[in-house]
């Protein structure tokens, strides 16, 4: 009889994500990340902020293996991302939902088809895909809109579709790279609310934004990136400012 992996009751308490002394530079004289270290626990909601070019997107791209670290390591669910083979990268990405500023929707696909892509990739039957997509669309407020083409949706609706696509496969981590960058302030707040609703179901969320107003809505852990260095503010910027005062 083959021995299975022994059950480890402490596995659920381990951090979902660890950055350990990560260096990344596109030019040798100008590193984007200099020894970036950070630990994110399961079920956390964390903002990553900083000026444009500070390395927010790079940080996320390193995480889903679109870039490689120059030094240091990133552990996702205990596995070192930098040591994954090219063949293993798709399996890493199946555990991460990603939302982009430019939505990255396939315009000639319907909402249903766009949202169902992560499940299609897993090879689930059409019936299961449709059922699951229907549930997720309800959750993001787009119930009954599944058969509309992505090209006819407004910006806010497109971002909701992108969020639905990111959470449809119930990933361990949800990454958002400036998801409100193309939206007006009210829609941005609505979208942030949607992320908070998703977080309330136990999903770990990493939300990258340069929009300071979003950070002040509710006190959350914030990581500020500036000139390659990171400052971890566990109680949020407003809380930190009050503490300093």
């Amino acid at each position: 009889m083959r021995r299975g992996q022994r059950f480890d009751p402490t596995a659920a308490d381990r951090p979902v994500l660890v950055f350990d002394g990560v260096f990344k530079a596109y030019r040798p004289d100008c590193p984007v990340l200099r020894g970036f270290s950070l630990t994110i626990q399961r079920g956390e909601f964390m903002f990553v902020t900083g000026p444009s070019g500070a390395g927010k997107s790079t940080l996320l791209r390193l995480l889903y293996a679109a870039e490689q670290v120059d030094a240091g390591r990133i552990l996702f669910l205990g596995r070192e991302v930098g040591r994954l083979t090219q063949d293993s990268v798709p399996f890493l990405r199946r555990n991460i939902g990603i939302v982009f500023q430019d939505f990255k929707l396939i315009e000639n696909f319907t909402v249903l088809e766009n949202v169902g892509l992560p499940l299609q990739v897993l090879g689930l039957p059409e019936r299961v895909v449709n059922l699951r997509v229907g549930e997720v669309l309800e959750r993001v407020g787009l119930g009954g809109r599944g058969h509309e083409r992505a090209s006819v949706l407004s910006g806010g609706e497109k971002q909701r579709v992108a969020i639905a696509r990111a959470i449809v496969s119930e990933p361990a981590l949800l990454l958002a790279d400036e998801p409100t960058g193309n939206l007006d302030p009210q829609l941005a707040v609505d979208i942030l609310g949607l992320f908070e609703d998703i977080h309330a179901t136990g999903v770990t969320v990493m939300f990258a934004t340069h929009d300071r107003s979003l950070l002040d809505i509710r006190p959350r852990r914030v990581v500020v990136l500036d000139e390659g260095r990171a400052f971890d503010v566990p109680q949020g910027l407003e809380g930190a400012a009050l503490g300093a005062a």
Binding site: Y64, A66, D87, P90, F91, L92, R93, R94, I98, K104, L105, I106, E107, N108, F109, E113, L117, P118, Q120, V121, L122, R165, S169
Partner: protein, 289 residues
Amino acid sequence: MNAFDRAFRAMRSDLEVHLLSIFSVGVAFVCLVTAMLVVVNVQHVQDRWQHIGKLSVYLNANTAPERINDLDTALRATPGVSGVRYVPSEEARRELMSDHGDDTLAALPEQAFPASLEVDTQEALTFEAREQMAKQLQILPGVESVETYANWSAKLATVFSGGVTAAAVLTLIVLGAVVSVVSSTIRMALQKRHVEVEVLKLVGATDSYVRGPFIVEGAAQGALGAVVALSLVGALYSFVRGTFEAHLTALLGVNISFLPWTLSAGLLLGGAALGAGAAYLSLRRLLVV
């Protein structure tokens, strides 16, 4: 949605480019199909000539009728001979004149149409046995010469080998053309669907999942290009056959025929494999996200 559904959808949404590609591949294949058609028919003619089972024993003008009778009897008794017919000089002239009503031929002297014994041999008789029989007949008194049609076979063999070489060269050209056309089309399709590819890779699709529809599209372009070529050459063949069949049959001694279905199916499968291979190669370095 499987790779076929996704490929069909993509081809439908970008129909013009795909049709243009199929037509270009088809034009390349037309050259190859035409060369193969010629080779196949030359081979038929060559086979026919090799197994024609005929000898013409031309007689001297002054051969006595008794000598001709002796030759006839001896030939009929020879193993492998299935029939002998005596064609006198006047009949030879008459036969030729009925095929070609030419005044120049009519003006030729009687010596131009020697009397002959037309010998039919059994199909099983080998080329070498016929040659041997011809040699033995050649030395008999009253026989001027023996025609085995071997040099016609040799000439056809040369034509056939030239045709095969031409077809091989055309195959290489078609291979290059198909790879080039399909690769360009697939690269254009990839450019147009870069968001789809990027999204698929970001949601965890493997390279083979992303490649799938593009390879199906490449295979479809190759196979449909071959179908276009077979249809065009087939239509041309039907026209030629309908118009000139009697003349061609009289000239070649065989009915011209289209490519056998196995060869047609091979072209179709070859086109599909070539298209799929070209698509795979063109995607190899382009799927990095």
